[in-house]
Symmetry: C2
Subunit: 428 residues, 2 copies
């Protein structure tokens, strides 16, 4: 048996405490599986005196994560501090520079600084792993990086923010408005301190940018993710989608096209009978399509103490067993810049708008669509509500660019009340 693997853990919130519990309570099992002992030597958090439901007296204490990350008796630095910069970034950099392996659950850190950190890890012969940063307990990073290494990935998709899926599910099954469902999620403690991270799609967008980097061998480019939150979705949209055999999901989609890398994290319609369409509540799902493997679907808890700590421990056990894979599955220097391609792939779209009560209004809309080359698959107009007639349109396949031309054209007619809602229909 090799010498024990010594962990230093910074950040002792729910996940950090969960990791401590696993290492303490499953010491024999971990040693049997890793072929060596796994120990904690030192920990760090903001408040030393808080009761975390687990004893920390066996471990050295550091107030400063950077000091923890560089201790001689730490082999693996586990960063659970959070935040894209500040102590999280400083401590991860310090650990990598000291040649320590790093395990993190920090999607924001990697989405913003993934490339430079991967390069830093490589330059120092260190390993940087982040299974827990994407879709909680679902082992998607490992599946994509390792299991599917013989595939050219064609598309990667995911519902990766449980809070958004919870809100959309409650709007559907509870008949709540967006505001009511949002308030319910807030009351249950599901929302981040800045709720826009969840409902604005930022958190899920961070995750998508990491999956895209591995899937397509590109440098992480979160800034190029086309982001749209779920705040504009109404019960009416959800009901109409249901009627037509679809569900609305905050769906991340990334694919490589001849014109560059597509990354969208937007509300989409997906077939109700598909695995993504059947996903309800706070659960996450990731779908990968490879040229060899076909479609692989993975489903599981996207957050929470146990699932996230499980993912952290999967990375720790890999390091204990000697697995040393590059951060994004290939040498950092070989990752190509990710030229963004904004939704070049034609798709059908769902449009909702209100029309003014004037003769010829619908004709003007139809004309604007036709002039942009967007053809109509289905259209429904309803009785007037508060002075506007709700109109729903499902288009045939069209490009985002043509659709935007059509939307501008529709806006210029002066018959559209408020901004139309346009949701892509993703064939999954």
């Amino acid at each position: 048996m090799s010498h024990p693997l010594r962990l230093g853990i910074a950040g002792l919130g729910t996940v950090g405490a969960g990791v401590v519990k696993i290492v303490r309570q499953k010491a024999a099992l971990l040693a049997e599986r890793a072929g060596r002992e796994v120990q904690i030597t030192a920990v760090s958090a903001r408040n030393r005196d808080k009761d975390r439901g687990v004893s920390l007296t066996d471990y050295a204490w550091e107030d400063d994560p950077v000091a923890l990350a560089t201790r001689d008796d730490v082999d693996v630095y586990i960063e659970l501090v959070g935040g894209s910069d500040g102590p999280a970034k400083a401590s991860v950099e310090a650990a990598l520079k000291a040649g320590k392996d790093v395990v993190t659950a920090n999607k924001a850190l990697l989405a913003h600084h993934g490339q430079e950190l991967a390069e830093l890890a490589e330059a120092n012969g260190a390993v940087l792993r982040f299974e827990a940063a994407v879709a909680g307990g679902i082992p998607i990073i490992k599946a994509l990086t390792e299991s599917l290494a013989g595939n050219e990935v064609q598309r990667v998709m995911g519902v990766m923010n449980g809070t958004c899926n919870y809100i959309l599910t409650r709007m559907e099954d509870g008949g709540l408005t967006y505001d009511e469902a949002f308030a319910e999620a807030d009351g249950l403690g599901y929302l981040e301190a800045d709720p826009n991270l969840d409902v604005g799609g930022i958190d899920a967008g961070h995750k998508l940018s990491l999956l895209a980097a591995i899937a397509f061998g590109t440098q992480v480019n979160f800034d190029a993710v086309e982001l749209e939150g779920i705040g504009k979705i109404t019960i009416e949209d959800i009901r109409q989608a249901c009627d037509m055999g679809y569900k609305i999901k905050l769906l991340g989609v990334s694919r490589m096209t001849g014109r560059g890398l597509e990354q969208t994290m937007t509300p989409c319609l997906v077939p109700a009978s598909s695995p993504l369409g059947q996903l309800v509540g706070g659960t996450n799902m990731v779908v990968v399509e490879g040229d060899q493997v076909g479609q692989i679907v993975m489903r599981g808890a996207g957050a929470g103490e146990g699932p996230t700590a499980s993912a952290v421990m999967g990375d720790v056990m890999d390091i204990a067993r000697g697995l040393r894979v590059s951060t994004f599955g290939q040498a950092a220097s070989s990752l190509k810049p990710a030229t963004p391609a904004q939704s070049t792939m034609p798709a059908p779209y769902y449009l909702r708008m209100g029309l003014v009560d004037k003769p010829g209004a619908l004709a003007k809309i139809a004309t604007a669509l036709g002039e942009a080359g967007v053809s109509i698959n289905r259209m429904r107009q309803y009785d007037h509500v508060e002075g506007a007639a709700p109109v729903l349109i499902v288009t045939h396949k069209t490009t985002r660019a043509a659709l935007e031309t059509a939307l501008r054209g529709m806006s210029a007619t002066g018959v559209v009340v408020a901004e139309p809602v346009a949701l892509r229909i993703e064939n999954v």
Copy 2:
């Protein structure tokens, strides 16, 4: 970059040819991801002259897989010959004894000889990997062995024979009898040469025994798998199950209990709304429940050239990257004997039988159940068909032992026509 990894492939059927194609067509991608070249040096098959749609002229040819497995210019022996003994076993043993790493898709070989092969690998410092042996392209072996290494697994389940699921799906959606659906599957080439491997549950049982070994740290014990095929399932069973909100699946379930290891591969009722219940056609699904991660569901193609070759390549790429994990996730010597525990966990059961047309027949059945301590949740009797009255019973939770006492008691009454069908209802 390290020296190239040199592969020797024995067995050039669909999967073998698929692996050759990937290595040839994706050489640059594989090298970038592995950090070294991956090459084929030699191949072997029964018929040298067959056209396999891919050129083999660059590779040395061996008629004998054992000779291939021990060549000096082979680092990894890929066994795609098939069969639990004969050339497959001989060549894998020869490779391991020569210190070669081995990748195989052979579930029968590992189900029957997994423990001795794992010991042989360990004794010779070799790695033996078999992702492709279970559930085709779904990366379940890696997920269980590596990603979930911080979990105590509570239950592992799976629909892992696509042919059986295809037959059951066609009975349901096409209204076919079992014999008609079987003939259709046969016509499509879905059945093994010995169809009992599929419809008798043997193939799926092999796979379950491998998952159980990893999940529970036990020696593979295929002989202890409680096996039952799908041949007794009727359209009526499928319709009744649907009516009650269930689907019938050939479901593998394994859990560790205080009394030993449970392994069952039997037709079961699962909730229609669960991921397993929603699985249709030839697709596979594996569900793992861990104490930390909760429930993880993985779905994908269980067979076919691309998916199986993808799994083989995942193992090859791991070896290329230097990952060396024990065959079943821990030292072979530390795997505990798997004491079989036959279905000790109480479960509800679905029973179907025909009763003779005599007064008091139903009362006798109900009494037999009551005397065995099995209580009835729902019961339906239908009008007589060919002299027997079909009776359907759903029991409350009961043990398999109590149920078998009840079945014997029912049989002793003399009012039951033919052997009753008893299917467990698995809560998933």
